[in-house]
Symmetry: C2
Subunit: 154 residues, 2 copies
DNA sequence: CTTGAAAATGTGTATATACACATTTATCTA
DNA sequence: TAGATAAATGTGTATATACACATTTTCAAG
């Protein structure tokens, strides 16, 4: 692996040359920031931030029976998810399903949340289409595949 | 675009079928979380979190003359970077270069920071190698290319 | 030298993320 | 049924991120 040496004060520090260009954690986080900013810019005029919209979509899908299960599906830390859910709940978009008796907390949409989901879907589609157009079909597909792969890193 | 309808309480809500599998913001954030967790697990025993290590590497590289410039290079919000730098400064790894007279704050490594960088480089390399091995050379290259592309999304 | 624009940084507020530890509830076994 | 075990959630603490607005410094035009 190629490195380069640069003089730093009185000492020489060797930083791997590919640190900036190949550091997976640096690049994956930068990518997430860039995409988030873009979606936020497009969706913010209509209400929530994109992270909350995608969480709302996941709740709407209903493929979960507990917070723990939803956290597992989204590959997000459970306590993080709990707090994000509380925000949506405080704003009246979701609520816990009181019909169930067990310990698990199943979140479902309120009427207001349903209305918001309906409103946001076309804007979300527009954002997707815009980026797909910018990246080209090939680029888009390659990116989707790459993100699926690293999203599954254990 | 294909959608499916599911019954939600008394109403039917239509969520795009590809919402979960193709939402770029969901997937890019999930990928960043996964990679971050992995690097953190590998690097934490040696001190800092991976986000701070990569920031430290960027400071060490010295390709910046101000916080604003560094923020631009890293595609990170300036006020975010400011706070992250303060953390490293509080721990004695970096300091502001007092030799310059202008308004810009140029952060440089302290001796302690230099020692930490030297210590972390092999561990960072090991983390990179481990993931590359898991993903295979082809997968690795494809991911690198994809992340470069979306990281540049304006 | 004054003034006004531009550059750079600082701060308040809010959300997103994760780990460690504690608490509560459900379930199984003897 | 009592006690142990597992499942699910709650909470404290710390870091990461961004936006909006304010403040400070620099610098050029006049």
């Amino acid at each position: 692996m190629c490195i380069y040496t640069f003089i730093y004060g009185s000492m020489a520090v060797e930083i791997p040359e590919n640190m900036g260009s190949e550091c997976l954690v640096l690049k994956s986080r930068r990518a997430a920031r860039a995409v988030t900013r873009r979606y936020d810019k497009l969706l913010r005029p209509y209400g929530l931030q994109c992270t909350q919209v995608s969480l709302l979509f996941n709740v709407a899908s209903g493929h979960h029976r507990s917070v723990t299960e939803l956290a597992s599906q989204m590959a997000i830390e459970r306590s993080t998810l709990t707090r994000n859910l509380k925000l949506l709940q405080r704003r009246g978009y979701i609520e816990t399903d009181s019909s169930g008796q067990g310990r698990p907390q199943q979140y479902i949409l309120t009427e207001r949340g349903e209305a918001l989901v309906r409103e946001m879907i076309p804007h979300w589609r527009e954002a997707q289409a815009q980026l797909r157009n910018e990246l080209g079909d090939e680029g888009w597909d390659a990116i989707q595949a790459a993100l699926s792969t690293i999203g599954a890193v254990g």
